[in-house]
Subunit: 164 residues, 4 copies
Amino acid sequence: MNAAPTTFQARDPNFKQRVRDSFARQHVMAFLGATLGEVSPGYCRIELPYRPELSQQHGFFHGGIVGTIADSAAGYAGFSLMPFDASVLTVEYKLNIVAPADGDRLVARGRVIRPGRTLVITEANVFAVKDQQERHCAVLLQTLMCMNKRPDTAPPAPERVNTR
Amino acid sequence: MNAAPTTFQARDPNFKQRVRDSFARQHVMAFLGATLGEVSPGYCRIELPYRPELSQQHGFFHGGIVGTIADSAAGYAGFSLMPFDASVLTVEYKLNIVAPADGDRLVARGRVIRPGRTLVITEANVFAVKDQQERHCAVLLQTLMCMNKRPDTAPPAPERVNTR
Amino acid sequence: MNAAPTTFQARDPNFKQRVRDSFARQHVMAFLGATLGEVSPGYCRIELPYRPELSQQHGFFHGGIVGTIADSAAGYAGFSLMPFDASVLTVEYKLNIVAPADGDRLVARGRVIRPGRTLVITEANVFAVKDQQERHCAVLLQTLMCMNKRPDTAPPAPERVNTR
Amino acid sequence: MNAAPTTFQARDPNFKQRVRDSFARQHVMAFLGATLGEVSPGYCRIELPYRPELSQQHGFFHGGIVGTIADSAAGYAGFSLMPFDASVLTVEYKLNIVAPADGDRLVARGRVIRPGRTLVITEANVFAVKDQQERHCAVLLQTLMCMNKRPDTAPPAPERVNTR
């Protein structure tokens, strides 16, 4: 939001790779077709091309899908500032859909508003790109929890896969 | 929420079929594997079996996917009470993830809190089912807009499909 | 929300007095004219009689005042379950105003949805009472933080008072 | 939020006076001691000096009071863009408290994110001023409803006053 812009410094010099590795473990991102763009301290961009499989009943991106990439963009903005051996959990988010998500692709830009030791407050803005024009379609306000001393690299969960 | 429970009456006697038809047009539901369960006046249940493709980095359902079925369950709870020639838009929702969405499937139950002529306030509770036990994992509070005289049956958008 | 109702047990046998003492330290409650009603484990009721000084431009209770008592009712519902030497902070809340807050008094009922060790998720419903009829006017969904080992009894802040 | 900044134009040339008149009718503002600062198209600032009567249990501004002036600042930002014969209702807001509201006064700055004909999406940032330094303490994301053809000048409600 339009608070004075803040510049953050990442405590973990390896934060970009750490974000990329975690993003790759979020299987839903590949499933939807989302890709990770720029990552900088307290900032993360995610893009998602349109596919009819992502649509609601009027043919636009479903609001939940808009929320999904906004949640991840804001979440990784926060994760970029966390210690190397921490993991991140979404506590809650609120999404306002300010225009139909009507475009060839979505761009979600996440930013940290306030980095606390335990809780990190973030935001994301989502834009629908149509005819190479960005149109603001959603805004998200989010609370993250930093799980210290619990690295993000969860062990595989084969029993999950096996039960299917 | 725990306000005195209210019984609603649907104005459109055909509301169940109308909800089912609209759900079928939300292509993202089939893509995720979600199915529509009970629909009654002001109430809607959606279920979603686990697949690794829906997971976040720790192997649980991604919070955005939890939000997606909660958004639709609450949205169709509201839609069930709308006039036959209206369509529904999500204005905004807030999702609290109260426990990891760790289970074989999710069950989202949407309910109307307050049905207004233009705005309808709804909620949804999401449960993760594991070993046949339901565990409450998320709560959603949502605002819908009723678009009167704009039937939900949007024309197909073939140009969208063609551009892929 | 309409999740299966849960019964909670307070860890601190003195929780009622602890809530009452903290409520008395929230000077804004006396200033507005709010009173504390029933307190039970995971539940708290606050009432507020109408005064023109609490109104918005149409003469109803101001939405922020509705939010203030809902925030405290939900906050003390959560506080009732916290350890004796903890204090409580509101992380965030969302308030939907579902009808004008038009009445002789407001009744806010707060309840715990999920009591975690660090984070507690709560809700509140606010009712406007007019002609002895309760009308549901607002619903709040809230995240609290439990500050362990930091008792609620803050030292007085005389320098604050002196600067006025 | 950090979407591309937008410049708005007010449809009603008399918008500043209209906002000031409505603010004066919100009796709770005078009761709390809040004053209206700058008003421009899609923007509104409200200030509130500290008084112990506004405090929560630790002596800081109560979160509900922070929400009250944020709600009004964002609400009047939206109202500034509405037609001369419309009134404004808060549909819902979400407030994140990102730091204790510890200061000699609060400054709330409301801005319009998206002005629709019926719904207007706004935000507010609240700062606590201490030793002449502003510190960001809260962010609000809000949905307003524009009530067309229903002027804000509600008739007095003497029966309200009389029942006290």
